[in-house]
Subunit: 446 residues, 2 copies
């Protein structure tokens, strides 16, 4: 359907782009910033997310759940959320900066690393601020870091905008003397005007999100490896040397792990499907994405809660509710990205995902699946007294199959429609197809 | 110098490639696997590296450094190294697989997630194996995981190689009916033959390495945030409410943090510069890269050691030596990648980095800097009795300036050579330039 755009770009994309232009630039000491950007994205996303670890590492034995621990927990959650917000803002500034800065040399790469180092130090200053609210040192350090980041970034900007034209002019002059005359002006102008629009932004949103999902999935297994390998003394004394018996003690933990990993994986999958159909990411979509990611970052907390409180029935129900709420918010913000994109669908979405497009109904079902499941699970904890963490985790593990079924059911529902279309209008999409398809789709989610 | 390759690909790379072909494929339910691959890379690199955390979290107070703790530490280091190796092998298999599998649909994406989940479970089974060497359960679980990964991957391969031709044939038939006749055969054949060579491999090596460097840099700040925020009670009682005095207690930790971050950042920078000049990554270069990364993953241990043992002079020297050894091996393997690349320079390197190329001398100096610095620091610990962890960390912090100086010195050394070249042969490089440049470069590293 979108034939005119690029008939056979496979060779151009995969073969020439990473190697073709680079050599020329590397020879000038000026490099494409692509890999530096993805490294920065990985670093920033991990820093934003990893501050959930102090929250999950807070020791809570259910008996002595007193005020001081509650306060500590609240403090650490605040640190996590604020760190996430601050680092995301720093990332957004970084993105905007490198939409203007097209290429970098070694000095700028080193400055970027210094900038990253200062950003990694932000969470510490923020912890200080929260732990000692009455001492101004924390705020002072925090402000110093922010000023340093701002200084480095504005230096980068100035250095590039002011000096890069001279550098490129000088290098083109040298090249002109060595190789012979050519037209370098058109090339560099093209680059700059193109970078002032937002071609990288969607890629960088994807890279940042990937980093968050990847680190969240990994933090889960870290807890399993650190806490759930039984002690060899314990195995001998308590379980008479039976490792299987010792491991079955931890059964709920493993169930919780697989359930949580499935949830993180599928939220990533939904995000991936969504951004496959998005052409351009606007500011408001970026904000909604950040909110969604902040809740995704809270998933290790949900895992910790539901696996730690597997004994007390009352607290178990409460922790399942917390998990449902976290999953609900993470997925509903994804859904909100899509609805926001639909508002300006001509700019932001691919044709196939727009109203009446082939993939529209399927995307709707895909993104609505998790909000519905988590709402249902939440409702179940209120009405069914027998609902437990184990059932919750089994539901989480079952959701991937719902996704597979979804695909099948959408295909089945759309097949007669397509056949009808094929008979009436060969190369045209009917405007009402998504409304017809939606009704049979949603019940299939469960 | 490499003008004929691609005169103005800027627009094609940044504009069309991510959006142009995707829509067409997304409409078929078949997607480019690019983002899924980078997510897998991030996940696998983090899993490979994060197992260093149990090693660094082993509590060692210098007094009770007895056998049992030594054994625990050795066990955990073994788990880390083996996990790194196994996950890297799994990653290599994944890379090979997706060099054949060009595109994926939803089912394959979900299967890939299942595969990732099984891989994340490997470190746990390995911990079990090491903690209970006499019980076969650990080995059994480990083998089950490996079989499951193999089954999923071979299913992916079969599904793609056997069924994808039918899928693409069917979709091209549908498209032919809807849009009109065209030549789809050339397109799909082009895609497959191109994927059988290794166009993605270098990109994926970069992505995997980026993930490792990013997570290592982040693990450092995590320790700072968890351990080095002083307790408010302590501050009141011990330091009479002075936060600055309390923080100055942790002074060596902060110095160690900045030093370690600078080292990780610059090792990434060297890696980045190196791969900018590499055209194609061979198997042996990939192996050397893995070895280098395994030592990079050990850097948090070096940080932990040098910051924890800042009191005892004998153990301090020993821990500085361990750090030097880790940095030396991490950087010497990077250097080895370059020498291996030079053996087949026509295939593997860009023209400017080959013998006699413009960037050859500079790359040599860049990659030789860290091995030399770490060797010198190691030697200093043997000969100078006053060498301390603080001096070591200050050296680490000073290295970035050496890098900046390096650039300047190389330029100064090459300027007269270029002028001579410009006078004698306008468009030609002299064969001896790198030998002349090398001599003044190496001493500048210190």
């Amino acid at each position: 359907m979108s034939e005119p755009q690029s008939p056979e770009p496979a060779l151009i994309i995969q073969g020439d782009s990473p190697t073709g232009t680079r050599d020329e630039d590397a020879a000038d000491g000026i490099q494409h910033s692509h890999r530096m950007l993805s490294f920065s994205d990985a670093l920033l996303s991990i820093i934003a997310t990893v501050m959930i670890l102090p929250v999950t590492h807070t020791e809570i034995s259910p008996e002595q759940f007193d005020k001081s621990i509650q306060k500590l927990l609240a403090t650490r959650i605040a640190v996590y959320l604020m760190t996430f917000l601050i680092v995301t803002v720093a990332w957004a500034a970084h993105t905007r900066l490198f939409q203007v800065v097209g290429k970098i040399d070694d000095t700028l790469a080193l400055l970027n690393l210094a900038c990253m180092m200062t950003i990694t130090f932000l969470p510490f200053t923020f912890s200080l601020m929260v732990t000692f609210p009455e001492v101004p040192l924390g705020i002072f350090l925090f402000c110093m870091c922010v000023i340093a980041i701002g200084a480095v970034q504005s230096y980068l900007l100035m250095a590039t905008v002011i000096f890069l034209p001279y550098v490129s002019k000088a290098s083109s002059w040298c090249k002109g003397r060595l190789v012979g005359p050519q037209e370098p002006a058109a090339h560099s102008v093209e680059f700059f005007t193109f970078d002032l629009h937002e071609p990288l932004s969607k890629e960088r949103v994807e890279a940042f999100s990937d980093g968050v999902y990847a680190i969240v999935a990994t933090l889960l297994i870290l807890d399993i490896c650190e806490d759930n390998v039984p002690d060899s003394k314990d195995v001998k004394e308590k379980f008479h040397g039976s490792l299987v018996a010792a491991l079955s003690e931890y059964g709920p933990h493993f169930l919780a792990y697989f359930g949580s990993f499935a949830t993180v994986g599928l939220l990533w999958f939904a995000h991936h499907s969504l951004f496959l159909h998005i052409r351009k990411a606007t500011q408001s979509m970026g904000l909604l994405n950040t909110l969604s990611l902040a809740f995704v970052g809270g998933l290790p907390l949900a895992y910790q809660q539901t696996s730690a409180f597997a004994q007390q029935p009352q607290q178990e129900l409460e922790s399942v509710r917390v998990s449902c709420a976290i999953i609900f918010f993470a997925s509903i913000f994804q859904f909100a990205i899509w609805t926001t994109a639909l508002l300006h669908e001509a700019e932001t979405l691919q044709p196939s995902a727009r109203f009446g497009g082939r993939e529209h109904a399927f995307m709707f079902a895909k993104l609505a699946l998790y909000p519905c499941v988590s709402l249902l699970a939440f409702a179940s904890t209120c009405f069914l007294s027998r609902f437990s963490a184990a059932i919750f985790h089994l539901t989480q593990i079952a959701v991937p199959f719902a996704f597979l079924l979804l695909r099948l059911l959408v295909r089945l529902a759309l097949a007669p429609l397509h056949a009808l279309q094929g008979l009436s209008l060969p190369a045209h999409r009917s405007e009402g197809s998504e409304d017809d398809a939606r009704a049979p789709l949603l019940p299939s989610a469960y």
